[in-house]
Amino acid sequence: MTTNDYDRVERTTVWSPGPGCHGGCGVLAYMKGDKIVKIEGDPCHPWNQGRTCSRLLAYTQFLNHKDRILYPLKRAGERGSGEFTRITWDEALDEIETKFKRFRDESGAESVIFVQGTGRDINAPLTFLTYAYGSPNLSQLGLSGQSCYTPRITGSCMTDGTLTVADCSQFFEKRYDDPRWECPKYIIIWATNPTVGCPDGFQGHWVIDCMKRGSKLIVVDPRCTWATSRAEYHLQCRPGSDGAVALGMINLILENEWYDKEFVEKWTMGIDKLRERAAEYTPEQVERLTWIPKEVLFEATMAYAANRPSAIHWGMPIDMNPEATSVAQAISMLWCLTGNFDIPGGNVAARGAFGIAMWPINQAQVLTEYGEDFLTKINEKRIGAKEYPYVANTRLYIQPDLAVEQMLTGDPYKIRGMWIQTSNMLGGNSADINKHHKALMNMEYNVFVDLFHNPTTMAVADIILPAACFTERNTIRVWHTPAQIVRKLHEPLGDARNDWEINFELARRFNPEIARKYSTVIDFFDEKLRPSGYTFQELIDRGGWVFEEDGVSVPYRRYETGLLRADGKPGFQTPSGKVEFYSLNHEEWGLDPLPWYREPPESENSTPELMKKYPLVMVTGRRSPVYFHAEHRNIDWLREKDPFPLVEVNPKVADALEIKDGEWCWIENERGKIMRKVKYNISMNEKCVSVPHGWWAPEEKGNAPHYYGAWKYNCNKLVLSQVGSSSGYGGGAYKTVPVRLRKMEPGEVFDGPEVGITK
């Protein structure tokens, strides 16, 4: 059978299991009977216009992988033994129901933490289950400071009351041909490598579409990338200094009167106080803090400010700055000062099509959906809500660094169980994996929903439920627009189930009201889709997606028409109704109302003695085009393209240490050591090394003490785990890790003290 031997082509949208990513791309599945013979991008879909990433193209290898977990598993031996027995769904769900209900009766619903990874199709089903159970504790546990998009979303909302994204015409069905759209003159790519990852509902290659239509690039990045090679300005900053870069730019814009006076006059408040604060960030001071030559900063800032429209596309390292919410606040001021807010080719307010929110993303939405009593109740016990104003007042996540402490100490209350879905904490995001391992071992009961065994399931899982891949499941995606469907094209392999079905079934068991309200998940989808005028089935029949023609998700200048405020009045969803350069929320919550710069916890300025011992800054997390975080190392077509856990280092630095290209070497600091294969890269800054994250080796042994080599390769073992921001969100120190490289002597093997932890 060849891949051109198919009997039909089915159209769907991709999101989650498979490519793993944040989704949105239209897909054509070439099918024969119940089998997918080939899968490619849908040329008719406005999101991706036919383009397809490597992980989607390798989907058949993922779907049919011999190691996929296809049946519910229950641990048979000790934790870490790697021994599991197959059980039925009824047995699995009954056991979970019994245990979780007992925890709830004995210790309150807060004694179970519900954990997700990144923005797969998980926020909605997980929130649904968590609140049905009644727990306030929802988290990307392990990810220090919840440092992925949450700080940017919440921090920027203090300024302009909304999340904005770079306008690459994604809100229009006709995309670049829509006459309302204008191409950004400059795009600032801030701390991201967009063509390699597609973060946060933004297809990375849209940037290329804009470049072909005339956009020039300004790139803020400590690394050199494909994008910096094509940028007019490369602001090569010191890792963790983005806040100083932003404040330096604000200062230049204000001092040189480059701001949009009409917009600032009419729609903003607090500019004088901001001017005073920004004046502390003189070009000289900023050069000292950021390593960016002041001339380069001046020219780049002028280019951005003088050329309207221009857009800023930002990435996750911003969230990993200390005081990340303040950095986000500062960067959002740039598009407000320059009049680039919600204009064609600027930064546009990102709203779900038809105003659909698949799950309550903030406190206001919980209030609407679940009522005041419920909101009060979950805020009472939510971990970190008492200590940190952003945790108490903005999104609904807990403070994960406090949570892991609490799992270890039981203070102020005992955590007994974990529900972990779409997260491989120990092979992936957890800072200081030893600490997280101990905390998870301290739990009475750990439930996982996943597709493959990984270091975390091997180390701590008590029960594993098999999740379905995206062609095996129904769901809807409204992030941000269009409203689109992912539909089941064939029966799941084995007994795998849609995350939605799993969570829905348990939610019904935990909360009888849900069972009364919805008989199937499709009922729930139909209810959510109601503002669009389509049901789930009607949307399938329509081709799979629908854009809003005129309404809340359609740009531009919605602050004039009242679409940005809950009360429908013109202006912004802030306490003053204006863009706030001086945040009234911050003032009320006891945080600095103005943006400020905070030095990384370990750096040449804050811990100079430590830096003498560990002189290189390890920047973790550079993306690979073939992997999504900790996934896909077991997919042959993908692994072949990027086979080894690397450390990229400037040859001058490596030479001095007698470390050769292609050799394995040690990376170490006071928290431990890992081994990596050296890649010489002449473009690396001599003070930094770049270390891709999420590395473990599915081909190695999974049981203790091996855990697929996670303790050997996972760079997050060397990362500090602590609260890094006074707001409670942000500050995971993943980009600013002092380390040294050491040559691996012949015969030397990995024998770190961490290996062998089973208790």
Binding site: N4, V9, Q49, S54, T195, H234, P625
Partner: protein, 159 residues
């Protein structure tokens, strides 16, 4: 099920980049008389043009590996075997600034997705269809030479 005719019609209204990529390519006519202006061009066109070619704008290749894996999927090649491989180049560029480029290299086993095109699955090879940067074009060499003139850093692979 989506009828093929609908795909074609729908594609025409979405995005101008798309129109260009979905254009159908006529089979090159071997030995046909081609009007030329100079002797040099005459030689080139008569000897090279009646061939298929792949045209890459190296300015835009981002190294995403989609071409390579699209090829492997299309032909069901095992890992290690592909009609196209992506190479990374890191070198001192203009003013000695670090330059990072990527390049799809077409191997001897590239068959221009003969079966895919013959069976009517598509008019272009899998690598061209799935390229994320939309920087690979396929067609007869003569036409592509003209397209190359509009590109920043064209590389023409005659097949």
């Amino acid at each position: 099920m989506v009828p093929r005719s609908e795909l074609r019609n729908k594609s025409a209204v979405i995005g101008n980049t798309l129109k260009r990529v979905r254009a159908t390519y006529s089979e090159p006519q071997l030995g046909s008389q081609i009007k030329t202006q100079t002797n040099q061009e005459n030689f080139f066109v008569n000897n090279i043009a009646p061939r298929y070619a792949l045209l890459v704008d190296q300015e835009y290749c981002t190294g995403c590996q989609s071409c390579a894996i699209a090829c492997q999927q299309e032909h069901q090649y095992p890992a290690g075997k592909s009609g196209v491989r992506v190479t990374e180049h890191i070198y001192p560029g203009n003013d000695d600034k670090p330059q990072i480029d990527f390049e799809p290299f077409f191997t001897v086993i590239c068959d221009l997705c003969a079966e895919r095109r013959a069976k009517g699955t598509d008019t272009v090879p899998a690598c061209v269809r799935n390229c994320q940067a939309k920087c690979i074009e396929f067609g007869d060499a003569e036409k592509l030479i003209k397209s190359a003139a509009c590109m920043k850093r064209p590389a023409l692979y005659l097949k």
